[in-house]
C-alpha cells in the first residue's frame, strides 16, 4: 500500500439494514441488523470486519453488494453512488463475493467450468466459446486448480479446493473489490494458510481491494490493513490492525482482544483475560443508548440515555464510547 492517501474506492455512509420479523400473530418488529454504519475502504486496501455471531458483519458485506436493498444509507463506489439499474449492473461486475461455506455456495449440478464461467456469461465478457474456455483455464490456474479438472463437479473436490473454485468464480468478472465472508473458517488449519496466502498474492497481482469478514481475530489481523469491530449492528471501533490489537480503546474491543486464545503457553499464562459477563442481548430487544452497556463495566447513566457516536480518538483511530 502506498502512503499517499488516495480517494477511497468504496464508501459506506450511514448504512442501515432492518429486517421485519413477526413476533406475534399480527405483530412485526424491526430487527436492526445494521444500524448506522459508515466507513471507507481505499484502493488496494484490506479492511477486516470482526465481531461475534449476530453482530451484523455478514449483513454489512451483503448489503454493500446490494444483495439486500439497504433500508437507508448510501454506498459509493469509485466516485459513483450506487443507485438505479445502470449503476448497479456495472457495480455487480466490479464487486464480487466469496462465501463462507464452500459446500453450499457451489451448485452441485454444475461443472467447475460452468461455475467459474457464470459471471462471464452473465456479463457477456467473452465474445466466443474459445475465449471463454481460455479464460476459464486462466482463472483455474490463477487459483492453483488443475485445469484438467474443469469438467468435474464440486463434490469431487476437498474443502480447500472448493474454496479455490469460489474464488475463481469471484475473479471471473475482473472485479476491483471483493467481499470475503469468512472465506477460511470452514477449512482445516493447514489449508487455511494456503488460501490466505493465495488471497494475498491475488491482491498483489490484480490490485484488489478486500472487505475481509471473519470471527477469527488472528487471521483478520494477519491479512488486514485496518480492522473494524462490530457489536449488535453498530460499529464500535476502527483502527489500523496493529493499533487495534495492541491498543484497543473500546471496552468491548479490549475484552474481545483479551479473550483471543494465543497459541503459545507462556504468552497464554501471562494473558490478562477480561471475561465478559452474560450473553449478547437479542437484537429484537436492543438496550437503549449504547448497545454494549448491559455487559460493560464502565456503563453509566449517560450510556443508557444516548448512543455514542464514532469519534477520532487518535489519528486514524475511531471509537464509539462516551468514556474516551
Amino acid at each position: 500500500m502506498s502512503d499517499k492517501r488516495t480517494a477511497p474506492l468504496v464508501q459506506v455512509r450511514h448504512l442501515k439494514q432492518y429486517f421485519p420479523v413477526s413476533t406475534g400473530l399480527f405483530k412485526k418488529t424491526m430487527l436492526k441488523a445494521v444500524d448506522d454504519v459508515s466507513f471507507e475502504i481505499e484502493k488496494g486496501e484490506t479492511l477486516g470486519l470482526v465481531g461475534e455471531s449476530g453482530c451484523g458483519k455478514t449483513t454489512v458485506g451483503r448489503t454493500m453488494l446490494h444483495l439486500y436493498k439497504p433500508t437507508e444509507g448510501e454506498i459509493w463506489f469509485d466516485g459513483t453512488k450506487i443507485e438505479g439499474t445502470q449503476a448497479l449492473h456495472s457495480y455487480r461486475r466490479r464487486a464480487q463475493m466469496v462465501f463462507q461455506d464452500p459446500y453450499s455456495s457451489l451448485n452441485p449440478r454444475m461443472t467447475v467450468a460452468d461455475i467459474v464461467a457464470e459471471p462471464i456469461d452473465v456479463h457477456h465478457l467473452c465474445p466466443n466459446k474459445k475465449a471463454r474456455e481460455d479464460r476459464i483455464r486462466e482463472l483455474m490456474s490463477l487459483v492453483g486448480l488443475n485445469t484438467e479438472h474443469a469438467t468435474r463437479y464440486a463434490h469431487e473436490f476437498s474443502g480447500g479446493q472448493r474454496q479455490r473454485i469460489g474464488i475463481a468464480r469471484a475473479l471471473a468478472s475482473q472485479p476491483e473489490f471483493i467481499v470475503c465472508d469468512e472465506p477460511v473458517s470452514a477449512l482445516d488449519v493447514s489449508i487455511q494458510a494456503q488460501v490466505i496466502n493465495m488471497l494475498e498474492d491475488l491482491q498483489q497481482q490484480l490490485g484488489l481491494t478486500y472487505l475481509f469478514i471473519a470471527h477469527d481475530i488472528s487471521v483478520v489481523k494477519h491479512i488486514s490493513n485496518r480492522i473494524a469491530v462490530m457489536y449488535l449492528g453498530h460499529m464500535m471501533e476502527l483502527a489500523s490492525s496493529n493499533e487495534l490489537t495492541h491498543h484497543p480503546l473500546h471496552p468491548y474491543t479490549i475484552s474481545l482482544m483479551s479473550a483471543v486464545p494465543l497459541p503459545d503457553p507462556r504468552e497464554s499464562r501471562k494473558q490478562q483475560r477480561i471475561v465478559l459477563e452474560g450473553d449478547v442481548p437479542s437484537p429484537l430487544k436492543m438496550p437503549s443508548g449504547c448497545p454494549f452497556r448491559t455487559r460493560c463495566s464502565r456503563a453509566t447513566e449517560e450510556c443508557a440515555r444516548r448512543c455514542p457516536e464514532m469519534k477520532e480518538a487518535a489519528p486514524g483511530h475511531f471509537v464509539a464510547c462516551h468514556h474516551i
Binding site: S190, I191, A193, T245, V275, D279, V280
Partner: protein
C-alpha cells in the same frame, strides 16, 4: 497406576468402499486431575478416540484391537449394560454442538435429572435439588426457572453450560470435551474454558480436551497429543510440544497459524498438499506425502514412537536419523537434545 490407560487402540469403520482406519495404534495415559489435549485436523481420529473410550461408535465403526483401562479395569469387551454404568457416571462427554445434543422435546430439568436418577439412588426431590446445585455451579442464573425451560429458550453459551452441568452431575473421574467451544464466540469461549478449569480444580477430575485450536490447547492443557490420519505424531507436556516440537507436522502447524503479536505480518508457511485419503493410506508415515523433509524410509515404513525428552514421545524418522531418540525414558531434561 494411571487413571486411564489406552494401549495400541485401533478403531475402524467398515464401509462399502473398504476399511477406514480412523484410529490406528494410539496409546496414552491420563493421570488424575490433568488436562490432556488431543489436537488434529478433521479426519485425524480425535473424536473417534473419544467415542472409542466411551464405546458410543456408530455402525459401521468398531474397536478392532487394543486396550482401554479405567482404574485398571478393562473397558474393551464390556457388555452394553456394564458400559452404561460407566458412561455419564465415571466418564462423561460434552459435544461440540450444544443445540443438537440436547433433546428439544424435554425440559432442561428433565434431562439433567435423568442422569442423576440413573446413576445414583437419589429420590426425585433430591435429584432436583442436585440439578439446581449443578446449574448454580456452572453459573446459570435462576436455576429453578431454567429447569422448566427447553433448549431453544437458551443461548448457545447457556446450552453448553447445561451440557457441562449434565456431564458433571454424577461427579465423573474423566470429562471428555469434544470441541466444546468451536461453535461459540470468543468471549463466550473464554467463559466456558474458565468454567471448565475452575470445575476441574474444584472437583479434581481429569479432562480430555479435543480441539483443532492450538490456542485452546495452550490455554488449558497440561499435556498434548498431536494426531494425524489416525495416528500419533507426538505427545508430551504442552510446553515441550509448543517449544520443542519434534515432528514435522507439528512444526508445520505452528508455522501455518497467524500470530497476534506478529506486527510485520510475515507470510504464513502452509503445509502443502491436502489431507490424506483414509481409504488409501500409504505404507510408510501417513504425513510423508506432505512432508518437506521426507526421506526414503518415511515412504516405506511407519515410524514407531520413541522418547525424545523426559516428557516427550515422537514418531518421526528424522529423530532416529539425527540421533535424538532414547530407547527408555531419559532421566533429566537438561541432558536431552540440548534444551536450556
Amino acid at each position: 497406576m494411571s487413571m486411564l490407560e489406552v494401549k495400541d487402540l485401533h478403531t475402524s469403520f467398515f464401509t462399502p468402499s473398504g476399511e477406514v482406519k480412523a484410529v490406528n495404534g494410539l496409546s496414552f495415559n491420563l493421570e488424575k486431575g490433568k488436562v490432556l489435549g488431543i489436537v488434529g485436523e478433521s479426519g485425524s481420529g480425535k473424536s473417534v478416540t473419544a467415542y472409542s473410550i466411551l464405546q458410543i461408535l456408530t455402525h459401521p465403526g468398531r474397536i478392532v484391537s487394543g486396550s482401554i483401562k479405567l482404574h485398571g479395569q478393562e473397558l474393551v469387551g464390556l457388555s452394553d449394560e456394564e458400559m452404561r454404568r460407566i458412561r455419564g457416571n465415571k466418564i462423561s462427554i460434552i459435544f461440540q454442538d450444544p443445540m443438537t445434543s440436547l433433546n428439544p422435546t424435554f425440559t432442561i430439568g428433565n434431562q439433567l435429572m435423568e442422569a442423576i436418577l440413573l446413576h445414583t439412588d437419589r429420590t426425585r426431590e433430591q435429584a432436583q435439588q442436585r440439578a439446581i446445585e449443578m446449574l448454580n455451579l456452572v453459573g446459570i442464573s435462576e436455576p429453578e426457572k431454567r429447569l422448566e425451560q427447553y433448549a431453544f429458550e437458551l443461548s448457545g453459551g447457556m446450552r453448553q453450560r447445561v451440557m457441562i452441568a449434565m456431564a458433571l452431575a454424577c461427579e465423573p473421574d474423566i470429562l471428555i470435551a469434544d470441541e466444546p467451544t468451536t461453535a461459540l464466540d470468543v468471549t463466550i469461549q473464554a467463559q466456558i474454558l474458565e468454567l471448565m478449569l475452575r470445575l476441574q480444580k474444584e472437583l479434581g477430575m481429569a479432562i480430555i480436551m479435543i480441539t483443532h485450536d492450538m490456542g485452546v490447547i495452550a490455554q488449558i492443557c497440561d499435556e498434548v497429543i498431536v494426531m494425524y490420519a489416525g495416528g500419533v505424531c507426538e505427545r508430551g507436556t504442552t510446553d515441550e510440544i509448543f517449544y520443542h516440537p519434534m515432528h514435522e507436522y507439528t512444526r508445520g502447524l505452528m508455522r501455518s497459524i497467524p500470530h497476534m503479536n506478529d506486527d510485520e505480518k510475515n507470510r504464513l508457511i502452509p503445509i502443502t498438499g491436502t489431507p490424506i485419503d483414509l481409504l488409501n493410506m500409504p505404507k510408510g508415515c501417513p504425513f510423508a506425502p506432505r512432508c518437506d523433509a521426507a526421506m526414503k524410509i518415511c515412504l516405506q515404513e511407519k515410524p514407531k514412537e520413541y522418547w525424545v525428552g523426559r516428557d516427550h514421545l515422537s514418531a518421526c524418522w528424522m529423530n532416529v536419523k539425527e540421533n535424538r531418540c532414547y530407547a527408555e525414558r531419559p532421566e533429566a531434561d537438561e541432558e536431552v537434545n540440548g534444551r536450556e
